[in-house]
Structures are given as structure tokens and as C-alpha cells.
């Protein structure tokens, strides 16, 4: 298959694209950290309820 001229050229991001990429990466990192905290807190809440109500 013939390579197109665009495919031969290495991808060089502009300053604006780099800045957007950095902001997006930070936002994704923040969202993932927030998800970890939410899953942890909900697990504790659900677990503690079940521990209290377990048959002895």
C-alpha cells in the first residue's frame, strides 16, 4: 500500500495542541483520582452496613 505524504511526516504538535493535551491529561488524572476516592468511600459505606447486619 502506498503511504500518503501525511503518514510519512512525523506528527509535530503545535504549542496550542500540546497545551490542550496537557490540560486534558491533568483533567483525566483528576477524574480518575476522584473515581478511586468515590469507589473507596462507597465500598466502606456498603461494607460497614453489611458487617453490622450479618447473621451471627
Amino acid at each position: 500500500m502506498m503511504a500518503t505524504p501525511d503518514a510519512e511526516r512525523p506528527l509535530v504538535l503545535t504549542e496550542e495542541e500540546k497545551r490542550r493535551q496537557r490540560i486534558r491529561s491533568l483533567a483525566i488524572a483528576f477524574a480518575l483520582a476522584a473515581l478511586v476516592v468515590i469507589f473507596f468511600l462507597v465500598t466502606i459505606v456498603r461494607l460497614s452496613g453489611n458487617v453490622m447486619n450479618r447473621p451471627i
Binding site: R19, R20, I23, A27, L35, I38, F39, L41, V42, V45, G49
Partner: protein, 310 residues
């Protein structure tokens, strides 16, 4: 802050606040005002529902309901970017301003949609999750892609999408669907047409230019005024119903009855004033009050529960 003022603020921001501007563009993409209405009505239903929800579960549910509503907004802006460019009210949205590429908006909306539905199901319950999925699918496929550009009934039928949040909130608290939550759905469902038609009366040229068949464009302003009045009366009656059959008490009855009477009064003014600046003022007044009405009746549910008046 409105979408337009947020967009202008982002446009005029210096390079040091460029990061904030980019984040603000994504926030605008999520339609924060629609999102706040979804959060608030879901919260009210959650509070008014029988039983109790652990605060951590409640906050978690609200986060993912907000995410789901924002996802639907982003997908709507992705699909409607072509007509958004043509209307003054929407021309400053992030995609028409080339601040967010359409493919990024699509990916953003898809990831948030799938993520919010999955997380709500895993962390809260699958009934609430299914209702959230239905809300997103209904808003994107039924309203945005199918009805909006085809029929003047677009916001009558499509309005159901914005009516689901109280049912989701109720499902978060109880794990199911009940008559009470359906009544709250009906209140928002009947509120949507007069709310949007009041705006469409003022913005009809915008919709005409974009080829969106809103009722004033297709059937004329006089017919729209009649429809606004009819829907307002039916909505005012339905608005008090939750105090008889549903979660509302006497305080809710007073707020909804008074609010409904003012709503109908303003709709009557829209019906009577048909020419010039007075007609525009009447439509704007109804639009502004309609937002206040909806927040008022759902706030009444929260206040009653908080003060133990039920």
C-alpha cells in the same frame, strides 16, 4: 453564569488563564444550567422519597446523574453544531467557536455517558442506572436526532428527557419506580412546552434561520400563545397533584398552587399581548418565572422534609 457570558469570559481571558478557559469550554459543553436542574430535581425526589439514603450514596448518585446529564448535553452540542452556528443564542457554544473539536466533544460525551451509567449502576442501583441510560438515549436519539429538526412537537415529546431526573432520584432512594415519582415526571413534562415556547416566541427568527420547526415558526405566534395558555393551565393543575397523591404536603400545596396561579396569569398576559415590545416582555417574563416556578415547587419538597412538615 450563562453559556454566552462564560464563552465571552473564556474568549477574553489572558494566556495565564488559558487552562481555566479550556476547562470552562468543557463545562459549557455539559450545559451547566440544564445539569443544575437535573441535579436539583433528582435531589428533591431523593429527599422526598420514603426511607433514607446514606449521604455518601446520595452525593455519589448526584455526581453521576450530573455526569449523565452533562454527557447528553455534550452529545447534543456535537450533533447540533451546524445549526448552533446559525442562532445568536447558541453561536458562542464551544464547537461553533472552534474551541472544542467536534470529535473531542463526541468522545467526551460518549465516555461520560457510558461511565455515568456504569458507575451509577455499580455504586448505587441498576434501576437508577437504567433510568439514567434511558434519559441520555432519549435526549440524544429521540429529541436531538429525530424530533428536533422534524416536528413542532419536538419539545413536547422530547421534553420527557428532562423529566426523568426526579424518577432517577426516587429510584436512588427506593430502588424502584412509584406513582409519586411519575407525578413529579409529569409536572416537568407539562412544564417544558410553555417554558420553551415562551423563549421561542422571542427567538423565533433564530429558529427560522436554522430551520428548526419550533411551534411559532410552523404554526404562528398566535397559535403558540394559545398552546402556552392551555399547557400552563394543565401544568398548574398537575403541579398541585403531588400534594394529594404524592410526596408533597400542605406547604408544597401552597407553593404549587400560588406558583401555578402566577404561571397561568403570566401565560394569560402572553395570550393577550400580541404586538411589539409588550408582547416580548410578556414572553420573557413567563420564561423567567417558569424557571423560578420549577425550582420553587421542588424546593418546597426539600423544605418540607428538612423541617419535618410532612
Amino acid at each position: 453564569m450563562t453559556e454566552t457570558s462564560a464563552a465571552i469570559a473564556a474568549e477574553t481571558a489572558g494566556p495565564d488563564t488559558a487552562a481555566q478557559g479550556a476547562l470552562r469550554d468543557y463545562l459549557v459543553l455539559m450545559k451547566p444550567r440544564v445539569m443544575s436542574l437535573a441535579i436539583f430535581t433528582a435531589l428533591a425526589a431523593m429527599v422526598a422519597a420514603p426511607g433514607s439514603v446514606h449521604p455518601v450514596i446520595a452525593v455519589t448518585a448526584l455526581i453521576f446523574i450530573a455526569m449523565g446529564a452533562g454527557a447528553a448535553g455534550a452529545l447534543n452540542m456535537w450533533y447540533d453544531a451546524d445549526i448552533d452556528r446559525l442562532m445568536a443564542r447558541t453561536a458562542l457554544r464551544p464547537i461553533p467557536r472552534n474551541k472544542v473539536p467536534p470529535e473531542e466533544a463526541l468522545a467526551f460525551g460518549m465516555v461520560l455517558s457510558i461511565g455515568s451509567v456504569f458507575c451509577l449502576g455499580v455504586l448505587v442501583n441498576w434501576t437508577a442506572s437504567a433510568l439514567l441510560a434511558l434519559t441520555i438515549l432519549y435526549y440524544v436519539f429521540i429529541y436531538t436526532m429525530w424530533l428536533k429538526r422534524r416536528t413542532p412537537l419536538n419539545i413536547v415529546i422530547g421534553g420527557a428527557a428532562g423529566s426523568f431526573p426526579p424518577m432517577i432520584g426516587w429510584a436512588v432512594a427506593t430502588g424502584g419506580v412509584a406513582l409519586e415519582s411519575v407525578l413529579l415526571f409529569i409536572v416537568i413534562f407539562l412544564w417544558t412546552p410553555p417554558h420553551f415556547w415562551a423563549l421561542a416566541l422571542v427567538r423565533s427568527r433564530d429558529y427560522e434561520r436554522a430551520g428548526v420547526p419550533m411551534l411559532p415558526v410552523v404554526a404562528g405566534k398566535d397559535h403558540t400563545r394559545t398552546q402556552i395558555l392551555v399547557y400552563s393551565v394543565v401544568m398548574a393543575v398537575a403541579g398541585v397533584a403531588p400534594s394529594y397523591f404524592g410526596p408533597g404536603g400542605m406547604f408544597y400545596l401552597a407553593v404549587s398552587a400560588l406558583g401555578g396561579a402566577v404561571f397561568v396569569g403570566l401565560a394569560l398576559r402572553v395570550y393577550q399581548r400580541r404586538e411589539g415590545a409588550a408582547a416580548d416582555r410578556a414572553a420573557r417574563a413567563l420564561f423567567a418565572f417558569s424557571i423560578f416556578y420549577l425550582f420553587g415547587v421542588f424546593a418546597a419538597l426539600i423544605i418540607e422534609q428538612a423541617l419535618g412538615w410532612v
